[in-house]
């Protein structure tokens, strides 16, 4: 780790101004990605602005058909939330299968979404459910938010404050974990709700999370596993690594999608 200035503001406004004042500031949430990056000396921010002391960034509320989760809410809290379990159980289950217990107790939804790791779970939920990402500056629709590998629509110094998910009447997430890291090798979130019928895939795409229109249209007519059993996803533009070839990932997308639909 290189040296940096550490800030621990008590409000989003103070955090934003700390970022403005810094040469090359970075936000710190649960640190599950940030701290290893620093320790491996892959980043050398001048300032680290720790969001851990900002009360307004934490918490879960469910009202008017919307689940709203503060950016600094950790995965374990989402997994354990009775409100989420009853309104949008698929989301609680997704959170419950992120990494391991230590990761779930530190990692946050804001950090996960901001980082947009191509193998992270939350981006699939955001895209499938048509979530809105609220920031210190504006509201961004999930459709416009995930712009590429580790890339988002966030401006420099922009802070995610919360994420709201419209409650869907049908939603399920099934993931095939990377055996080593337990990130998603392929994760498929299917939903039928206010945003329509959607199938979002994480872990597989070279550009991160993406939707599968062929499956969505098949499911719109007939929301059943059979409807998509023969929908094949092209292996072009899918990731390949030591754990899974592009062909295998393409195959798993169909299997995971079928299983997600069958779960509902």
């Amino acid at each position: 780790m290189y040296e940096f200035e550490h800030h621990k503001p008590a409000s989003v406004a103070d955090a934003a101004s700390a970022m403005k004042g810094a040469d090359d500031g970075k936000l710190l949430a649960g640190g599950q990605t940030m701290i290893p990056t620093l320790k491996q000396r892959l980043a050398s921010p001048s300032d680290l602005v720790d969001l851990g002391g900002i009360a307004e960034l934490k918490g879960i509320s469910v009202s008017g058909g919307t689940v709203t989760i503060g950016a600094m809410t950790n995965h374990a809290a989402v997994a354990a939330s009775a409100d989420i379990k009853s309104a949008l159980p698929a989301l609680a289950e997704l959170a419950d299968h992120i990494g391991d217990a230590q990761v779930r107790n530190r990692g946050t939804i804001g950090g996960s979404v901001a980082n947009n790791d191509p193998a992270a779970d939350y981006p699939a939920a955001c895209l499938a459910l048509g979530a809105t990402i609220h920031t210190s500056q504006r509201d961004i629709a999930a459709d416009d938010f995930f712009t590429g590998l580790f890339e988002t629509a966030l401006e420099e110094d922009e802070i995610i404050t919360k994420i709201s998910f419209p409650v869907a009447n049908k939603a399920a997430y099934v993931k095939f974990p990377n055996p080593a890291s337990r990130y998603a090798l392929v994760g498929v979130f299917v939903a039928d709700g206010p945003a329509g019928t959607r199938v979002a895939v994480t872990g597989a795409g070279q550009d991160g999370v993406f939707r599968v229109p062929e499956m969505e249209s098949a499911l719109s007519g007939n929301f059943s596993a059979d409807a998509i059993a023969n929908v094949k996803v092209s292996a072009d533009n899918l990731n390949a690594d030591i754990h899974a070839s592009a062909d295998y990932r393409a195959h798993l997308i169909t299997v995971m999608a079928k299983r997600a639909v069958a779960k509902i």
């Binding site: 055996p179 890291s181 990130y183 030591i242 754990h243």
Partner: protein
């Protein structure tokens, strides 16, 4: 002997006395040791698999804040890191033994090779400064795989002229060829024994210190064998005599073989300590461990098994390529040869066996012994080819094993590959395992799984291994440059408590409990009165350390011999006090009694008398009660048994789930059944890890792709079912305890049971082979290809 099952003697499941300090964070590991004035070392490592070092400019680093010194290979002119075994090729020539400098000289040979050391007030300063060292490399083509190394012009070591370290053989090739020519059937198999990263929980660490007043060096290090390190480093690398070099291996958090070897960092911190006049600490981080701890396994085998018309094995012929990595690590050459090829009879009567082993240098991390060391490789080969032979001949896979087992009445049994097994009963462990695994109910379970679209399979391994390493005369004749006896000292204190000094080292095995039980059993003392001391060359007279499941069979036996000397001496003291002849003194339940009388002395009274010898006849009886013993075993010990694995495969995803794992192991006499069970659990977990999850992957340029836990799949609790582990069997015939060894059986026996189960599950779908690790993608692809 007292009935130990309820007390603290032999056979009692005594809770591990060391666990309290480990579980409460009070262990004393190398990184917990901080010496006054300590500085910190950071090792700059090679980013290239193979490159010439054309220049190193460390001037900026030397001038950086807090930096005390920077040294490179040019500065560190010391001896080569030695290899403990010398193998001779079949043409009689000695193995090629390249120089292994602690800091690279002129060339780097694997990603992770040590290039320079920076020593500073803090670790961060050392690491910061290392970034300013400018190393100019001329990158060379790398020999990454063994086939590259054998066919490429790229030499890992230019001066030795070849990448072939040795070309060795064992067995009677003519007899094998003759048998092959008469065989009714020959089964052939090609196997890869996947390369593994040991990943002990505690990364390696070392603290070097020099006392200018006494001229004495101290090295604290994460070692399984501190005396061996003292000898290797002192005599061969740094030329420090033993009486001026103390090596301490305090609490060590797991080794699995990877902490046997003498590593460069130990020599570097010891050598540099007097140069800077301060103690120096080095601690590996996990990423460093991946590219600097010796890796394990990494063999390619071709084998042919000849059978007669009744399925009796006639001959086995094996060709092995064994990866040595870039340099010869301490034990490396003996792993694929004397620890592997000598086991090729397994539990079977195969009368003719021949093996040829080619050891190959590559531009990868050195490879050496890892839990099982050579025996997992041969066991995997034998148990895979036996299953394959059963499939090809149509003989049931249990039946073919039974037809070929060495019968229980055939011991001692001389194999055609040097070893003589002293005891075993393979039929007994097989039939017990068959019952526990409910083999009878398997067909129904398979049908039920099929109704859910899942594929069930069952796989066997009726394995054997040789441990209790090792008779010095035997290993000496096979190329060991050391003897493999063990030593112990039993020091009875004036008030009757006892300190035992053992030359073995406990780094997770629970010796502080097991060894204390031996003493409790023999001397009738409570556990609290017995302390087991190990891991310090200034305390323990000598020791060869812990590996090869040797601690109890060799170290425990040495201890028993020292205890028996204590009893003999104590009898003389009691005889003197009780005015009887020593021959008439009986020792039982902690009391010395004149036979046939009620005149007796308690152990504590004898101890006190030994140290308060007011009226000893000094020409006949020395004061004190402190005895030592060295023990050199007459033979290896031969644990064996049966592992049965049941798996269920999801054909849609290729995921293999281990549903049931049954192990019935013959480990000889069991001192502490709870510790034995734990050892088998850990070994089986590592074996299933090798079979389904783990492998070290290098890319074509020699970068380790699986260089962290994000990509290297360490087994976790949720990868396993509850294991059914039992022991039963025979006693070792050549040590008085009857013990064989249990540290490695789990890792040795289990991998073929798992893979045989996977193949069994996939067989009906047309799959005929599967390699380790059987990852979901491999299984899925095999199913696709078979369709």
């Amino acid at each position: 002997m007292p009935d130990g099952t309820t007390g603290t003697g032999i056979g009692a499941a005594v809770k591990r006395v060391e666990d309290f300090r480990f579980l409460t964070g009070k262990g004393n590991y190398t990184d917990d040791i901080n010496r006054p004035g300590q500085s910190y070392a950071y090792i700059l490592r090679s980013p290239h698999a193979h490159a010439k070092i054309t220049s190193i400019d460390s001037s900026a680093a030397k001038a950086a804040a807090g930096v005390l010194a920077v040294f490179t290979g040019e500065d560190m002119q010391v001896g080569s890191l030695p290899c403990g075994w010398q193998i001779h090729s079949k043409d009689g020539s000695p193995m090629l033994e390249p120089e292994h400098p602690p800091l690279a000289k002129g060339k780097v040979r694997y990603v992770g090779d040590q290039v320079a050391v920076v020593i500073a007030d803090t670790y961060s300063q050392a690491k910061d400064a290392a970034e300013s060292i400018v190393v100019n490399y001329e990158v060379l083509p790398a020999a990454v795989s063994m086939s590259d190394a054998l066919t490429d012009k790229s030499l890992v070591h230019d001066d030795i002229g070849s990448n072939l370290c040795f070309d060795w053989e064992i067995g009677d090739e003519a007899a094998v060829d003759e048998a092959m020519s008469k065989a009714a059937h020959i089964t052939k198999i090609d196997l890869v024994n996947n390369r593994l990263v040991p990943n002990a929980m505690e990364p390696r660490a070392a603290v070097g210190e020099f006392d200018a007043a006494t001229g004495e060096y101290t090295l604290y290090t994460t070692s399984q064998n501190p005396h061996v390190i003292r000898l290797l480093m002192g005599a061969f690398v740094l030329s420090i005599p033993e009486h001026k070099l103390r090596v301490v291996a305090p609490d060590v958090g797991g080794g699995f073989g990877s902490k046997i070897y003498h590593y460069a960092e130990e020599a570097i911190v010891t050598w540099a300590a007097p140069k800077i006049g301060r103690p120096i600490k080095w601690v590996a981080d996990r990423s460093e461990a991946f590219i600097s701890d010796a890796h394990g396994r990494d063999q390619i085998n071709h084998a042919e098994l000849a059978l007669d018309a009744n399925g009796k094995f006639l001959a086995l012929k094996v060709q092995t390529q064994a990866n040595m990595g870039a340099y010869l690590s301490t034990f490396a050459p003996c792993v694929p040869t004397y620890l592997s090829a000598t086991l090729l009879a397994g539990t079977y009567t195969t009368p003719a066996i021949h093996a040829n082993v080619k050891a190959i240098f590559t531009n990868t991390v050195p490879v050496d012994a890892y839990r099982g060391a050579g025996r997992p490789e041969s066991t995997y080969l034998i148990e895979r080819i036996v299953d394959q032979a059963a499939r090809e001949t149509g003989i049931d896979k249990v039946e073919i094993r039974r037809r070929n087992f060495i019968p229980a009445d055939a011991f001692p049994y001389q194999t055609p590959v040097a070893l003589q097994y002293d005891s075993g009963d393979y039929e007994a462990t097989l039939s017990s395992a068959t019952k526990i695994a409910d083999v009878a109910g398997f067909a129904a379970r398979k049908a039920e799984a099929a109704s859910r679209g899942k594929l069930r399979g069952m796989g066997y391994s009726t394995y054997l291994e040789a441990c209790g390493i090792a008779p010095s005369a035997v290993v000496g004749s096979l190329g060991a440059r050391a003897g493999l006896y063990e030593s112990a000292e039993v020091r009875v204190h004036p008030t009757g408590s006892v300190t035992v000094f053992t030359g073995t080292h406990s780094h997770g095995q629970g010796h502080e409990t097991t060894f204390a039980q031996l003493v409790s059993d023999r001397l009738g003392l409570p556990m609290e009165n017995i302390e087991i001391s190990h891991g310090d060359t200034n305390k323990v007279q000598f020791g060869m350390g812990t590996y090869g499941s040797r601690s109890l069979a060799v170290g425990g036996e040495a201890l028993i011999r020292a205890v028996d000397k204590i009893i003999d001496k104590a009898k003389k003291i009691a005889a003197h006090v009780l005015e009887a002849s020593a021959d008439d003194i009986e020792f039982k339940d902690g009391n010395f009694t004149v036979a046939g009388t009620d005149r007796s002395m308690a152990f504590g009274e004898v101890a006190l008398t030994a140290y308060v010898p007011h009226n000893f006849p000094h020409d006949e009886l020395e004061p004190g009660l402190d005895e030592k013993a060295f023990y050199d075993p007459a033979n290896f010990t031969y644990p064996g048994g049966c592992h049965i694995c049941e798996v269920e495969i999801d054909p849609e995803t290729g995921v293999t789930e281990v549903i049931k794992f049954t192990a019935v192991d013959d480990v000889g006499r069991v001192i502490n059944p709870m510790i034995v069970e734990g050892q088998v659990h850990g070994g089986v977990a590592q074996g299933i890890g090798q079979a389904l999850l783990e492998y070290a992957a290098y890319d074509d340029s020699g970068q380790l792709v699986t260089g962290s836990f994000m990509d290297y799949t360490m087994p976790r609790a949720d990868n396993f079912p509850k294991f059914d582990v039992t022991t039963e069997g025979t006693l070792c015939t050549h040590n008085t305890l009857g013990v064989k060894g249990v540290g490695e059986v789990g890792a040795i026996g289990s991998p073929p049971a798992v893979i045989n189960a996977v193949i069994d599950a996939l067989w009906d779908r047309g799959v005929r082979d599967m390699s380790m690790p059987a990852t979901p993608e491999k299984v899925w692809s095999a199913l696709q290809a078979a369709e």
